[in-house]
């Protein structure tokens, strides 16, 4: 599969500090998560791909185009949703997105059509005619997403897309991101601190630490590898049950939040678990595959 983004010994220096220290990676997924502690260089990497920073060494290629000398043409293919506020307060939502669309190359009539389409898609109704300065945070986030996708980019970069959104708006944002992901010919880069969001939306994950690649994982492969890891929630006193489970070879242990983490060996009968539970007078209230594999991966990468 052709690489969407290739980082070739990418080095970026700001002032006197070297922020990105020779990054080397080849990202092929349709949706790539970008993770890392604060200061690891995620924003710097994104800003470099956009051409806001010039590499001080090495280079990066997006869709085969070199960021050093084809930055402007590249930007025609990229849509960017910044983390911080990014709007012109006096302009109405539609006008702002129209401006963005036209700057990306759309003819005026198409730009207006497309701006309205995108507003419909993100769920902003008649608020689109009001100045952005009057919008709530949720509306502003949606406007940022709108301007990022209006010109149909092949690569959409989302920096903390769910920042500050209340639970319903977060759901809506994730749903939108997944729909964009499902579209043919569109790739995503999502930088977020919320591992759940990344897990739901991404195929591959690049973890940065101190300006270097700490880990690069394929989530699908991880899910397959972790398919035998279960999490149990039990009622009644379960100490003896857990011990018995462990003795059966199920590698059972209490995990942080009062639940039991267990690895089911291949071929092990689920029925036996229930049998054991009945014997120890324990009710299994919940048994499902662990959803926090990304969290484990992240913590391991940070060591």
């Amino acid at each position: 599969m052709p690489a969407i983004i290739e980082l070739d010994q990418l080095q970026v220096t700001l002032g006197k500090r070297v922020i990105l220290k020779g990054l080397q990676a080849s990202l092929t997924g349709k949706s790539i998560g970008l993770l890392g502690p604060n200061g690891a260089g995620k924003s710097t990497l994104i800003n470099t791909l956009l051409g806001y920073y010039q590499p001080s060494g090495g280079t990066a290629r997006v869709f085969g185009m070199d960021i050093r000398n084809q930055a402007r043409d590249l930007r025609a293919l990229i849509g960017f949703m910044p983390e911080n506020d990014s709007f012109i307060a006096r302009m109405s939502g539609v006008r702002f997105v129209r401006l963005m669309a036209e700057l990306s190359g759309l003819p005026p009539a198409e730009a207006l059509e497309r701006a309205h389409e995108v507003f419909y898609y993100v769920g902003l109704g008649e608020q689109r005619y009001r100045p952005i300065g009057t919008y709530s945070l949720g509306m502003r986030q949606m406007t940022k997403l709108a301007q990022a996708i209006v010109h149909g980019p092949r690569l959409v970069i989302l920096d903390e897309p769910t920042n500050g959104l209340d639970p319903m708006a977060r759901k809506r944002m994730i749903q939108l991101v997944r729909e964009i992901h499902a579209q043919e010919g569109v790739h995503l880069i999502i930088s977020s601190h919320l591992l759940r969001d990344v897990e739901e939306c991404c195929d591959q994950v690049l973890i940065l630490k101190d300006g270097a690649v700490a880990a690069f994982c394929d989530l699908e492969r991880e899910r397959i590898a972790n398919r035998n890891v279960f999490e149990l929630e039990l009622k009644n006193d379960a100490g003896a049950f857990v011990t018995a489970l462990a003795l059966q070879g199920c590698d059972a242990a209490w995990s942080g939040n009062g639940r039991v983490r267990m690895v089911l060996p291949d071929g092990h009968e689920r029925r036996e678990i229930f049998q054991l539970a009945a014997t120890h007078n324990v009710q299994i209230r919940s048994m499902h595959r662990r959803r926090d594999s990304l969290e484990d991966l992240f913590l391991k990468a940070m060591e």
Binding site: G164, M168, A169, F274
Partner: protein, 361 residues
């Protein structure tokens, strides 16, 4: 808008020595009191006020605009999460708890202290705001240190406590750099340090995990747990519901100025009576499973999932359901992949009580 109401007949007058004494001892203050009739709090009236934060029929309006209306809750020690859409009144509640604004109606009492008594209240409180606003040019250390000086600590003690707090949030090496140069996560942590430095008993945190990377989140959550274990009231507002599930002892759901629910999430869920509990089962023979369960009279509905990967049960009695379920699994040998309640968490409760997906507000 003025927050200083003249002590009208109806508001507890803390200049009145008998009222003050009554507040001190924890019993209900004498008659010239809040204009609303003494509505019993959700807790039994025997519980003394000095051990909890009590909202007694509190309303707050900003001119015509509603902040909160008719709030009656009692907050206990431990981690309490405030959940609700933006603009629902969370910040209003927090501001009233911390004495920054006063109720239009009703009374608030924090560990027996009225928020109209700032000298006694502020030492008890630590407040971590949602938005960043720092004095220009200060370093991290100066920020925390100066706050401690405001609390009346001596210079040396303030220094020690400041470093202690800064170490607790793991910002020791960055403490002497200017806050303007901090990343978002670092600013969040320095605010936290400032809130805990004077060892308050009540910690009010407005979206404290915002902008923190996963490790810092886990560390901050651990810090909250540690503080809660020390007996503090940790009141957190958050939008990340699965974290709310993870860390809270109790949850308060608020929507459009009204308290919609409060208590332990599981408890809240079981009280939402008109919605039977939903339990998802993924197995190899969903139809057979459903067939076996119906006669046991523990389910009210069974819905086959698409592609027959499983079945969604609805039950009004979880306990009996699980027992029946377990027996059937043992008896029939159906291979179970997944069994879990799908609406036993903050997310589902939120959806039932507050959410309307699709609209952007």
């Amino acid at each position: 808008m003025s927050d200083r109401h003249p002590p009208a007949a109806g508001h507890p007058n803390h200049d009145n020595p008998s009222t003050a004494a009554a507040l001190e001892s924890g019993s209900r203050p004498p008659v010239p009191e809040s204009p609303a009739p003494a509505v019993p709090s959700t807790q039994s009236p025997v519980s003394p006020n000095t051990k909890a934060i009590v909202f007694n029929n509190v309303s707050r309006f900003y001119g015509d605009v509603l902040g909160v209306n008719g709030v009656n809750i009692v907050v206990e020690p431990g981690i309490t999460s405030l959940v609700g859409p933006n603009g629902s009144g969370k910040t209003t509640l927090m501001n009233m708890m911390s004495g920054l604004i006063f109720p239009s109606q009703g009374s608030v009492s924090v560990l027996g202290v009225s928020p109209r008594d700032p000298e006694r209240l502020f030492p008890l409180l630590g407040y971590c705001t949602q938005f960043d606003s720092f004095p220009r040019g200060v370093t991290g250390f100066q920020f925390v240190h100066t706050t401690l000086l405001f609390h009346g600590l001596s210079g040396k003690e303030a220094e020690e406590r400041a470093w202690e707090a800064i170490e607790r949030v793991k910002l020791s090496d960055a403490a002497n750099r200017r806050v303007a140069a901090y990343s978002k996560g670092m600013r969040q942590r320095i605010k936290l340090a400032q809130a805990v430095a004077h060892r308050p008993r009540v910690l009010i945190l407005d979206e404290p995990l915002n902008g923190l990377d996963p490790m810092a989140r886990a560390e901050t959550i651990a810090l909250f747990r540690a503080l809660a274990a020390e007996g503090l009231f940790v009141i957190v507002s958050s939008h990340i519901l699965h974290e709310v599930d993870l860390i809270s002892d109790r949850v308060v759901l608020i929507n459009q100025g009204y308290i919609v629910a409060e208590g332990d999430i599981r408890g809240v869920r079981s009280e939402v009576k008109d919605q039977p509990m939903q339990i998802l089962v993924q197995c190899d023979r969903p139809r057979a499973l459903a067939q076996e369960l119906f006669p046991t009279e523990t389910i009210v509905e069974a819905r086959l999932l698409p592609d027959e990967i499983g079945v969604l049960f609805k039950t009004t009695d979880a306990d009996r359901f699980y027992n029946a379920f377990q027996q059937i699994v043992l008896a029939t040998g159906i291979q179970i992949d997944v069994v879990r309640p799908v609406d036993d968490d903050a997310d589902s409760v939120y959806q039932y009580l507050i959410g309307q997906p699709g609209a952007v507000s």
